[in-house]
């Protein structure tokens, strides 16, 4: 982004434009049912197709890089009104804890004027739902929400039209409420169910606009999760909970390190175990049995040798390695003249920030069940990308895509890590080979080994402040994190932002294993570096860190969010390090503005950081479900404690040393601070992301709080006790 006047802009469009590409479906042709097929599948009822006018609000490529499918004509077949009066909403998105299983029905019920309880959702089913590239990037509410609401608005208009014909009452005398169309000043009424009965009508109505905020009844109302009862009773089905007659559980032979080549394998002992099937096809060596624990034992009896020629890089040397192999930088934003800015600076801070590889570590490991019957394939999978999985499974077996049906179950946590579908393709391949349904459920060690980690990354920043405490220049280089969140929203006249390696995969020779999107990809790294550096400038200038930010912020939205956080916290100005252990950070992600303030204590003997309190204010535009949004904010803050304080993948070359939770520490109950959340009322602006933004500040927030407590400026995440101790100023 280039600014002619030297003032950085921070419109959310830029963030939308570049952030969210996760491209499992990039090269895959779109496939969607035509209307006739769709009708056959969903059976009776009124099917509503929204007209293309609403689709203009949806980016043709949902924000990604590279070409995308144009939206298929019947992408907008979103809902059905059943003969029993129940309404079914269809979405290609899946539920992994982020709560759209509640917020989407709120939208649908509100627009359609039916009770929330009457809405059911079908999510991610590739035979029933409109094509979708995947559930990530906080895009469901932003991009799927508007056409979904529009579909419901139009459905209601169609129903009113049908009611007018049936009741012989002019349309404008009809009203709707709770699934009924009724005559305003009269007796006549008809239910949606009666109107829908036995009809298969595709009718369009023009000009049926979604509601204005003043008309909302369910949107904006705090609503409890609709999947909670299933989940607290153990009835909710995750991929590993699906059972099929004849099901076999597979365990696969894995190399000891990425890059290791299998040179010799002896499966004879496994073959001797009664009932165990052994599959050996090239590098694929698997054992299958009726129950997984016996398959596990059989796997243990296999003897394998590998040729290991992996690189020497490890978790200590990785940063030097990355800087060495970094490609040419791409300027992401530029304005003014850096040399001039440097001249105007009274104080200059030049620092390098590091963050390690981080694992997604969902408690549910990658799991899938595949069934191949003739040329028909059914896959139940724990996946964020059911439609790309469908395409990939079809191409693996050389089948047309319509032969594959992917049914996503509840996903037990994704965070960007369940988009690759490796486990599902393993299940498909094995199911084809053995001719029986096969379940693959990764062990925790496999989960760590094949995780597409958040990339290790380096950020170099040189920036200066004037006598007046204004940032005069900002020279920013980000290596291997990606550019999401690197755009400067503080007011800086002379600035440059350069990305060395864009996106998260690093390119050949960069990372010794796979890397990928991790909740708010790149933004955790960029926000850690930026907010730490801003704080360092404030300290140099001798200005309170909240005041310093305000002084350098013109973006009204950000000022409001920061002020809200400061008010809620009860911030009183002081120059850092004040000894109070207060930290502040703010940022923008997925169109949403966040500001956090924390209080920590640091044990100066051990270097242990204890987070006592975190306040977070968030402007996410229209908030569909404030309860769900707060739940996400709390989840972000809690999860973010991990990458800030303990989480770090340990490796030697391609060998991942973390095999289980004893060597990779996730946040626990005893760590959790008091959390207070504030959602700014912004219902007149479009809904933005909610699942990721509140995690981006956690690194910078806690680094700044540690600085305030101790004077130690931590430049590397995670801030382990050793690093905190090492960073402590010697007195």
């Amino acid at each position: 982004m280039r600014n002619d006047d030297g003032r950085p802009q921070s419109t959310h469009e830029e963030y939308l434009a570049m952030d969210f590409s996760n491209d499992p479906g990039e090269s895959l042709p779109g496939l969607a049912l035509d209307r006739r097929q769709f009708l056959q599948l969903v059976g009776g009822g009124i099917l509503v197709a929204i007209s293309t006018q609403y689709l203009e609000a949806v980016p043709q490529r949902e924000g990604g890089r590279g070409p995308r499918h144009p939206l298929p004509e019947d992408f907008n077949a979103f809902l059905r009104i059943g003969e029993d009066g129940r309404v079914t909403g269809y979405t290609g998105k899946i539920e992994m804890g982020q709560g759209v299983i509640t917020s989407l029905p709120q939208m649908l019920a509100d627009e359609l004027d039916v009770p929330l309880e009457s809405v059911d959702m079908v999510m991610g089913d590739t035979d029933l739902c409109p094509w979708d590239m995947g559930t990530f990037g906080s895009m469901t509410t932003r991009f799927f929400g508007p056409p979904f609401r529009a579909a419901a608005a139009e459905a209601k208009a169609v129903l009113v039209e049908l009611a007018a014909e049936k009741l012989q009452v002019p349309k404008d005398r009809l009203r709707t409420k709770a699934g009924i169309v009724y005559e305003e000043a009269g007796e006549k009424r008809v239910t949606y169910a009666e109107l829908a009965k036995g009809q298969k009508i595709l009718r369009h109505v023009k000009g049926a606009n979604p509601e204005e905020p003043s008309q909302f009844t369910l949107i904006g109302k705090p609503t409890l999760r609709r999947d909670a009862v299933e989940k607290v009773t153990g009835k909710a089905k995750f991929a590993g909970d699906i059972r099929e007659p004849g099901l076999l559980h597979a365990r696969l032979l894995r190399p000891p390190a990425h890059g290791a080549k299998l040179t010799h394998v002896d499966v004879s002992a496994a073959r001797e175990i009664p009932g165990v099937q052994v599959i050996q096809e090239g590098d694929l060596v698997a054992v299958l049995y009726e129950v997984p624990d016996v398959a596990e034992q059989a796997l243990g009896s296999i003897k394998a040798q590998y040729d290991r020629t992996e690189s020497n890089v490890d978790d200590k040397t990785i940063f030097d390695h990355l800087l060495k192999v970094a490609p040419q930088g791409q300027t992401v934003a530029e304005g003014g003249n850096l040399a001039e800015g440097e001249k105007a600076a009274r104080q200059v801070v030049d620092q390098t920030y590091l963050n390690s590889y981080v694992s997604h570590a969902p408690i549910e490991t990658h799991t899938a069940l595949a069934k191949v019957e003739g040329s028909k394939v059914t896959v139940w999978a724990s996946t964020q990308t059911p439609f790309p999985l469908k395409e990939a499974a079809a191409s693996l077996l050389g089948l047309p895509a319509q032969n594959v049906h992917v049914i996503p179950s509840f996903v037990g946590g994704g965070f960007g890590g369940k988009s690759n579908n490796q486990q599902a393709l393993e299940a498909v391949r094995l199911a084809k080979l053995v001719g029986k349904p096969v379940q693959v459920m990764w062990t925790r060690a496999e989960e760590f080994f094949y995780d597409t980690f958040r990339p290790a990354a380096v950020v170099k920043i040189k920036a200066g402040v004037t006598d007046a405490g204004l940032i005069s220049f900002w020279d920013y280089g980000v290596y291997f994190a990606g550019e999401r969140g690197s755009q400067q929203f503080y007011n800086v006249p002379h600035h440059r932002t350069v990305a060395y390696s864009s996106g998260w995969d690093g390119g050949p020779g960069a990372h010794p294993f796979a890397t990928g999107p991790w909740r708010a990809p790149a933004n955790n790294t960029n926000t850690f570096a930026r907010e730490s550096h801003i704080d360092a400038l404030a300290a140099k200038a001798g200005v309170d860190p909240v005041e310093f930010r305000m002084r350098n912020l013109k973006d009204e939205r950000m000022r409001r969010v920061l002020q809200a956080a400061a008010d809620k916290f009860g911030w009183t100005p002081a120059k850092a390090p004040s000894g109070r252990g207060y930290g502040v950070a703010c940022g923008i992600d997925a169109g949403t503005y966040v500001a956090h303030i924390a209080e920590v204590t640091v044990d100066k003997e051990t270097g242990h950081v204890r987070v006592k309190r975190v306040v977070c204010a968030q402007d996410m535009g229209l908030c569909i479900n404030p309860e769900g949004a707060k739940l996400q904010m709390e989840g972000c803050i809690t999860m973010g404690l991990g990458y800030a304080l303990t989480e770090e993948v340990q490796f030697q070359g391609g060998e991942i040393r973390n095999r289980n939770f004893d060597s990779y520490e996730l946040p626990r109950f005893s760590w959790v601070p008091e959390i207070e959340t504030v959602i700014i009322d912004a219902k007149n602006s479009p809904a933005q992301g909610g699942g990721e933004p509140a995690i981006i500040c956690m690194g910078g927030l806690l680094a700044n709080a540690v600085f305030d407590a101790t004077g130690a400026r931590l430049l590397q995440l995670p801030m382990t006790p050793e690093r905190v101790k090492a960073g402590m100023p010697r007195s």
């Binding site: 804890g97 709560g99 009862v229 607290v232 153990g234 769900g628 809690t638 289980n660």
Partner: protein, 159 residues
């Protein structure tokens, strides 16, 4: 070698022909179809597989099925009675104390055993007893609040 293992499962007598060295978690999930008990780590490190054996929370992933012979086992499926959610389950629903829900059965079972032994736990007792159960989604605060609510609801008379 298979053997008959007898135990009480969710209030029902069970006589199971099974290799006694098999892992309880997989026997529950596969042989008995009780999939509410989850696998998360297989080494006793996450609590997703927590079940109750004679009033104590136990990790089913590290237990051989022969260990339950003659004992009473309660899984998440056995907590609601006659279609009525247990007070802890209700409190989890009311507090939105879950996101993906994968850790939830283990959380609830662990909390259940806590309230059996300590009907009115302090906040720090709750935190101590729940600390070995991992939740990646970060529902911790609400889980603590839900357990406090449930304890209050149950009025010191756990069942």
């Amino acid at each position: 070698m298979k053997k008959t293992i007898s135990f009480n499962l969710n209030g029902q007598r069970m006589n199971l022909d099974v290799d006694p060295s098999r892992t309880l978690l997989w026997v529950l999930r596969n042989d008995l179809g009780l999939t509410g008990t989850k696998y998360g780590c297989g080494e006793g490190l996450c609590g997703a597989c927590t079940v109750i054996i004679d009033r104590k929370a136990v990790r089913a992933c590290t237990l051989q099925v022969k260990e339950v012979a003659g004992k009473g086992v309660t899984t998440i499926e056995g907590l609601a009675k006659n279609g009525e959610l247990h007070a802890i389950q209700k409190a989890f629903v009311e507090h939105d104390a879950l996101q993906c829900g994968y850790c939830t059965p283990g959380m609830i079972m662990n909390a259940y055993s806590l309230l059996l032994t300590t009907p009115q736990p302090s906040r720090s007792q709750i935190i101590d007893s729940m600390d070995g159960n991992l939740c990646r989604c970060g529902a911790h605060r609400r889980i603590i609040a839900a357990i406090e609510t449930a304890a209050k609801q149950m009025g010191g008379a756990p069942r």
